[in-house]
């Protein structure tokens, strides 16, 4: 009786010891050595795994950061400059600070501005709809409103406004990862420079039809009349295919184009309310004076 227990204990003990040795040898032999900096870098990254950097996730991006000689072109849109500076310090590499960006929806074709001419009853997806036909309004460029951008957003930063049926971006949540830009089949969403105090001016239309056709389809369409280009003192407005585009790098946020646009397709965001006309005049002269002074 005693010997049975003893034999069992010895047998199992020997077996355990042998297996432990085997496991140890195998573990040593097939050990994967990963640069420990990768793990550390990953810890600095926000861990959103959104793919906004162009890699499959934060781990892949961390690996790329560690292995690359020059990381100036790499950027984590979620973490922004602060994260990149931290990583650069840790890895002893150089980064360039970038202007922070934000997604803007370049369509103002709300139900009111752009009447629906037919009804789409297929699958609720912009991609399916765009592959089927030109859309449920006369504008074949505008937003389809089925929310593909909403479903791809990892941060809950874009939502469909129930009244206008157009997507709207939540400025505090948007990280400029670019997922919505890729998801939109009509290429309406653009990543734009966030601007000082989040002030932005952009053309909220992508219709390339002739003015009359575009205007007929939507009240706030850009008709390519070039009034904004004439008003702009900084040559920041390009007009191509009857469509204006404001270059964010040249735009000085003077808001003159917004005032002259006959269809109201140029949108200004986060500006303080305009002062009454007289004061504007004064301010203009002041501005001119100060410009002259700087020149």
């Amino acid at each position: 009786m005693d010997s049975t227990i003893l034999i069992t204990v010895i047998m199992l003990g020997v077996l355990a010891a042998t297996l432990a040795v085997v496991l140890y040898i195998v573990a040593q032999k097939f050990k994967v050595v990963e640069d420990e900096r990768i793990g550390e870098t990953e810890n600095i990254l926000p861990g959103a795994n959104c793919g906004g950097c162009g890699y499959t996730g934060c781990h892949a991006f961390a690996e790329a950061l560690v292995n690359a000689d020059d990381i100036a072109a790499m950027f984590c849109p979620v973490g922004g400059n602060a994260t990149m500076v931290k990583i650069a310090e840790y890895l002893n590499k150089k980064v360039e600070t970038k202007d922070s960006a934000i997604a803007v929806v370049r369509c103002a074709g709300s139900c009111e501005n752009r009447s629906r001419v037919n009804e789409f009853d297929g699958a609720v997806s912009c991609a399916v709809m765009a592959a089927t036909y030109s859309g449920d309004t006369d504008c074949s460029y505008g937003c389809l409103g089925r929310g593909d951008c909403v479903s791809v957003c990892n941060f809950g930063a874009i939502y469909i406004n129930g009244e206008t049926m157009l997507p709207e971006v939540d400025e505090d949540k948007c990280t400029a990862c670019g997922a919505c830009v890729k998801a939109c089949p009509k290429l309406i969403i653009e990543l734009r420079k966030k601007g000082t105090k989040s002030r932005r001016i952009y053309v909220s239309c992508v219709n390339k039809d002739k003015g009359a056709v575009a205007r007929k389809a939507c009240k706030t369409a850009c008709i390519g009349c070039a009034a904004c280009r004439k008003a702009c003192g900084f040559e920041s407005i390009l007009i191509e295919n009857f469509l204006a585009y404001i270059d964010p790098n040249k735009c000085r946020l003077c808001r003159k184009c917004v005032e002259v646009c006959p269809t109201g397709s140029i949108v200004e965001l986060n500006f303080p309310p305009r002062k009454p006309k007289v004061e504007i005049q004064e301010q203009k002269t002041n501005n001119l004076n100060s410009e002259n002074a700087t020149n």
Binding site: V117, G122, A123, S125, V128, Y133, S134, G135, D136
Partner: protein, 442 residues
């Protein structure tokens, strides 16, 4: 013996309510708009300019490369210019706009009603005529006919199969051609046989068109090597691969062309157009279009000049019926909804169908319970429920592995789905996206 294919398929209510309406010419007037791209392949290049006078049948856009087709004027008059015109899906494409003035035809077109039975032309001559006439497959795919009839090196054709199945509900234009233009059709078949050097031709017709079967059987006694095959009505029998399977029992391998089985399939309307192009020198500028619908005042089978606005066809059939829920270009299974009735007709237009509001409404979507009805219905042997899910999740590699490229978008799966899932919507999207992966590595 009545034949059919085994795998999958459905049999929706036939609704061939326009079957007794004789073919009717629709006179052109106003402005016609002719797209330079009405076929698969490169768009044709426009060779007329604003202000030019054109005649009926005059070449106005030249084929651009081998896989492309000539486009001819369908009317006589003045060219108003080349504009971007919205097609029936609202998508803008360049089109040649012509103001109709009179009806003056090119001199070399034979307009006499006599049937030209002369079969002395050589295979090359026939092919040249077909290329010149800008013929495309009129079954819906609009693949240039001369490309289809050019047999790849190392392959031999054994038989021509003429597709008279017309398995889509509502459509009757092929049926009317078989009844009214039977003799011309059979000459067309002989010409096709000669063009590809084969002695055997089959004409497959579903038994719901018994009068067409009788008519062609009677007429075909005069011609050697034409066999009329009765087919059991079943959708999608008119699909190329299904028709070959039904008639010859041969299976076209995955990712292969029908020529692998030695068969070349041609549509009824295309065959009739071959007759007109070769024997009458008449390019493809008009085609037969069924205008039908349960609430429509009069059912019509028109012969329409290419480029006529759809609204004119609708007007000629008594106007749009009340409580129309959807207008479809083509049949109810594979046709696409028309969102713009000002759009011009195309070479490949086959029907304008009015569906009532009640019929047009899709059922409420619910969850897939893996009942596998779609798998049973799929004539290709795919798993639609799986492809649907993969396409929704944009899993392109997996779509590729599950042969999404083989889908013919026939809609049998959607027709049988008890959960009303938008299967074809997503599979079509997934197919387009995955095809980019499949084609790239070459």
């Amino acid at each position: 013996m009545i034949k059919t294919f085994k795998k999958g398929g459905v049999h929706p209510p036939e609704n061939k309510i326009s079957r007794n309406a004789a073919l009717e010419q629709l006179k052109p007037d106003g402005i016609v708009k002719i797209f330079t791209s009405q076929h698969i392949g490169a768009p044709a290049e426009c060779i007329v300019a604003k202000g030019d006078q054109v005649k009926v049948g005059q070449l106005i856009a030249e084929a651009n490369g081998f896989v492309s087709a000539n486009v001819h004027s369908s009317v006589s008059g003045t060219v108003l210019g080349i504009e971007n015109v919205a097609d029936y899906q609202g998508i803008k494409k360049p089109a040649i706009c012509i103001q109709v003035e009179g009806d003056e035809w090119e001199e070399n077109i034979d307009r006499s009603p006599e049937i030209n039975r002369d079969l002395s032309k050589t295979s090359e001559e026939i092919l040249a005529k077909i290329t010149e006439a800008g013929l495309v497959g009129l079954g819906g795919a609009t693949f240039p006919t001369h490309v289809k009839l050019t047999i790849p090196k190392g392959k031999t054709a054994k038989a021509i199969i003429i597709n008279g199945a017309e398995c889509e509900p509502y459509l009757t234009s092929d049926h009317r051609i078989m009844l009214e233009k039977g003799e011309e059709l059979l000459v067309g078949v002989q010409l096709l046989k000669k063009a590809v050097n084969v002695d055997k031709a089959y004409i497959g017709i579903e038994t719901n068109k018994q009068d067409a079967i009788d008519n062609l059987t009677k007429l075909s006694k005069k011609y050697s090597g034409i066999e009329i095959v009765s087919l059991k009505p079943k959708y999608p029998q008119g699909g190329e691969k299904q028709l070959i399977k039904s008639i010859t029992g041969l299976e076209v391998p995955d990712r292969a062309l029908p020529i692998e089985t030695g068969c070349i399939v041609s549509n009824i309307c295309t065959t009739f157009a071959v007759y007109e192009a070769v024997q009458k020198n008449k390019p493809l500028f008009e085609n037969s279009i069924t205008v039908t619908g349960k609430n429509l005042k009069v059912q019509k089978n028109f012969i329409v000049r290419v480029g006529t606005p759809l609204s004119k066809l609708i007007e000629a059939a008594g106007g749009m019926p009340q409580n129309t829920g959807k207008i479809i270009s083509g049949g109810p299974m594979m046709g696409r909804a028309i969102s713009n009735t000002d759009a011009p007709t195309l070479k490949g237009s086959g029907a304008v169908l009015f569906i009532t509001a009640a019929e047009a409404k899709r059922g409420t979507k619910s969850n897939c319970i893996r009942c596998s009805k779609c798998v049973v219905a799929c004539p290709i042997g795919l798993q639609p429920f799986l492809l649907y899910k993969l396409a929704e999740l944009n899993m392109l590699e997996e779509l590729k592995e599950n042969s999404v490229h083989a889908c013919i978008e026939c809609g049998c799966c959607l027709y049988t789905c008890p959960a009303n899932l938008p299967l074809v919507d997503y599979i079509r999207l997934g197919k387009t996206r995955a095809m980019k992966l499949i084609v790239k590595p070459k």
